[in-house]
Symmetry: C2
Subunit: 545 residues, 2 copies
């Protein structure tokens, strides 16, 4: 198969070099980085044999691809004394109309003519248009090779003016002034508090979402916590002793690792807004990401505090160390039965993809509740207690609940609906993008599918004709464990574009192992908070004649 593809590449002319994309893309793999966006080599430490295989073929393919794709490019590196540009000038060159400039270190490059030749696809390079390449090369370590630098050098047009300072940081009176830097590729839905999602075209490039691209849903400013003085307060049962656990104490519990997809209840809210206005951030299909989490199991910590399963219904309440101006912290709860079930694998996580948690994701400790809505994965965890009732937090009782489409803000009674815990079956298309123009011949449709409660994805159906006929997609990514399918499946369908079609209405819908399916349309599941949109995902594309 690989040989066949290489053979096909040999007979392609330069004009067709962009087709290399589909061959090369699978060797572009993410590496995890910390918040500093420095280029890094892959640092995954967990067992992923397919990853090392991918890295192996990558060198060969990239070498070949580079020769074929770029051998006719003229050397355009400036031989004279370099021209100087400000960051502002660079940032204004971010479209085909203005020209597309990028920086690497102090050097400035005009890559307008290279965009269509980019082996990862033009859309990916465009994410960096007008700014530095480093944050992206940090994610896609394939770039960290001498011949990639050589190619880039051909497009050099000058350097950054050394007198041009980086943009000033936020004012210190701003409660969000202490928030960490973020990756420029993130699509920001709200700066304060920070809420952002990865662009769809990057979302399913990797089974494991790189930390800097993991969607971020903050409700409050990010606290700046000292790992040395950090303590987790665990309230004991009546008459028992409370625990005060340092990060080192937590590390003394058996370390448990699990790959978990986290999804915000508001994922795909923007489609609900099109039906009728809702209250909430305009998430597209990117409020979902997957990481390998490691930490202490909550059941082990609760057991040490002396908690055991009660006859009556009880809840484990979590409080974050983030708080508003009145000192009210973020809070949420989950049923005690889930917290104490070792098979439910609820974690007090201190690692994300082999790194300490990034600040945006709860440093130093957050809750991870596999199969459950993101709102219960409390970040910057400060306190754990067992209560007869659910958390009295606003986010447990007055938010993150589903209602009938007939309920509005005048009639809503939040006490009538259960708090969202397990999420329903979900899927979305990440490629092609809505409104994109695709070539006739063959189309590749890609996306993700996931279900809550540990239910495995058993099938994804894709339609190219608005739902009249369906084809079964191929499931990629890791196999799912029965009853513990905490992580998504990526999927793809390669299919002929029906002859003569000028447009395609592409739809995906998934099925989980309880044979739950997604509803056809958004309007009948519309709700005033715009949560729980799991209707069929639809993408409309044009076909070049």
């Amino acid at each position: 198969m690989l040989l066949l593809r290489l053979h096909r590449v040999r007979v392609l002319g330069l004009q067709q070099a962009s087709r290399l994309r589909s061959t090369l893309r699978f060797c572009i793999r993410a590496c995890s980085t910390d918040d500093s966006f420095q280029p890094q080599y892959p640092s995954f430490t967990y067992n992923d044999s397919s990853a090392s295989r991918g890295w192996g073929v990558m060198g060969t393919l990239l070498g070949l691809g580079a020769v074929l794709a770029y051998h006719e490019c003229r050397c355009r590196a400036d031989q004279e004394s370099p021209r100087m540009y400000t960051r502002e000038e660079v940032s204004s060159h971010c479209s085909p109309k203005t020209g597309i400039w990028v920086t690497f270190g102090h050097e400035v490059f005009d890559v307008t003519e290279f965009v269509d030749l980019h082996p990862g696809g033009p859309a990916k390079l465009m994410l960096a248009a007008g700014g530095p390449l480093e944050p992206f090369w940090a994610l896609y370590a394939v770039h960290n090779q001498p011949h990639v630098r050589e190619i880039l050098a051909q497009y050099k047009i000058g350097e950054l003016n050394p007198n041009d300072k980086a943009p000033p940081t936020l004012e210190t009176s701003d409660p969000y002034a202490g928030d960490p830097p973020r990756h420029p590729a993130l699509k920001v839905n709200s700066q304060r508090p920070f809420n952002a999602e990865p662009p769809t075209e990057l979302l399913t490039e990797n089974y494991i979402t790189p930390n800097p691209l993991f969607f971020t849903r903050n409700h409050l400013p990010v606290p700046n916590l000292d790992p040395d003085t950090y303590r987790l307060h665990v309230v004991g049962p009546p008459g028992g002793q409370p625990l005060s656990l340092s990060l080192d104490d937590l590390r003394q519990f058996p370390k448990h690792e699990v790959t978990v997809t986290v999804q915000c209840a508001g994922n795909r809210r923007s489609e609900m807004t099109k039906v009728k206005e809702v209250k909430g951030l305009e998430w597209r299909a990117g409020a979902i990401s997957t990481a390998r989490w490691a930490g202490a199991r909550l059941c082990d910590v609760l057991a040490q505090a002396g908690h055991h399963l009660s006859e009556t219904e009880a809840h484990v309440c979590f409080e974050g160390l983030d708080s508003d101006l009145t000192g009210t912290a973020y809070g949420a709860s989950i049923p005690l039965a889930r917290a104490l079930d070792p098979e439910a694998e609820v974690l007090l996580a201190y690692e994300m993809n082999g790194q300490p948690l990034p600040r945006d994701h709860g440093f130093p400790v957050r809750v991870v509740v596999p199969g459950v809505v993101g709102a219960r994965h409390v970040k910057w965890l400060g306190k754990v207690s067992v209560e007869p009732e659910e958390s009295y937090s606003h986010w447990q009782r007055r938010d993150y609940k589903g209602f009938s489409p007939s309920v509005d803000w005048d009639t809503v009674d939040f006490d009538l609906a259960p708090s969202i815990q397990e999420l329903p079956i979900q899927s979305a298309i990440t490629e092609p993008r809505d409104g994109e123009t695709i070539e006739s011949g063959e189309v590749t449709v890609k996306g993700y599918a996931w279900s809550g409660g540990g239910r495995a994805v058993v099938r994804v159906d894709v339609s190219l004709d608005g739902g009249l006929t369906w084809q079964v997609a191929e499931l990629d990514g890791e196999e799912q464990r029965p009853r513990k399918a905490w992580a998504w499946r990526l999927w793809r369908l390669q299919a002929p574009v029906p002859a003569g079609q000028k447009e395609l209405n592409i739809i995906c819908k998934a099925v989980d192992d309880s044979y739950n399916v997604q509803p056809d349309t958004v309007a009948p599941i519309w709700n005033l908070r715009g949560v729980l949109n799991n209707a069929w995902h639809r993408v409309h594309v044009y076909v070049t004649p």
Copy 2:
């Protein structure tokens, strides 16, 4: 509220007496019977305080209702020597056109004029048209009162000819000749093997389905087993001892009782057939019923045989004592993890609603797997074993699986789909019936809702306008336990009929506590076996001007 209703009743004339139905219906409660259809008084032994309250007000209301509704009926009992009829003559009088006759004991009654006055509604009385009343009075013990007999006596027209024998039984060469007698109200989808469902108008009259009305899904002839010689064979682990358990042995295990709704995967298949032909019996919305089951927990029996949870995935295989001409028994399996989980409450049941299991429902022992498709609730249980693979039975591997609508009998690969275990969220309308004509003013919509896997029903939305707007129905029936919501919720909506409407397109859709919802339409979930139809349920009715 009750006083208000009584007051309203007082001002009604005889012409409006049929409205009494809505007032009286709620006091008509089921009693469980064995297969013999002898009238019985209620024999529920479990705690149901609302039932005794219902029985309390029933006497008062029925007395009043009888006086109001029947005081003008002329006494028509034949004073002369009785006229004689054959059963065949009686059975030919089963419609308003021919007249509506029924029998009670050896007496024959022409109830044509009474049908519209029947406090339980005309449709219920029509179920008995042309035949004996006893099987229905056995279900609705409210009839076993002297004044009801007095009312009936007014309609007597003669007696059954004592020389007219009951219809002959089936031939003994027929493998189904030994099947038990069945309740005449059941809608039969197949006689051999016997497959039948209760009529929708009876289905949600009771939270607990009376045994004779419980839907019956047999794959083979019903075995005739002697409870004294019956043995359940439990295969031990390698090197361990097998168990051979008599019915008395099983009764030595702690007796566990649980209310469980059982649903056939083919429930509502007839709606799928309308999209495109499928292979399977034409079940309407009645292949679902609820009973109070009692027996030994499977986990206790497996523990006694020496089985415990294995590191690798394993399955508990069940074999029935029903078999085809080649000796092949019905079989199915469930994952060992579910079988061994005490919280999953899997039973080896020997009681159904306080009675020994009826023969059609697995006498003397069947499996009950709460939250799981009926096909795994193996009846006439003969053998239990723990295997590394799922049951090799046809019904586990080549049936009861879901596929994409694109898969047909030429392309199907049964190995590609998981066997159905937990079922998805389901709901259906049982009143009014499709095609019925309702009065303008107010409409009452009733139905059931249930989800697999112990997921509770949190909401039922009802639309009267084909899905444009929705109203939230009131949930009746018992409260559901978190994570162990094994039994359905009944629901109802009373709403004004929109003025000027000549027809209504009524729809229901339910939501479970994982916020799973039902899909809008049938076609996109169509599959070649016609299983798993949980699309919105739709009923079209006409409104009298």
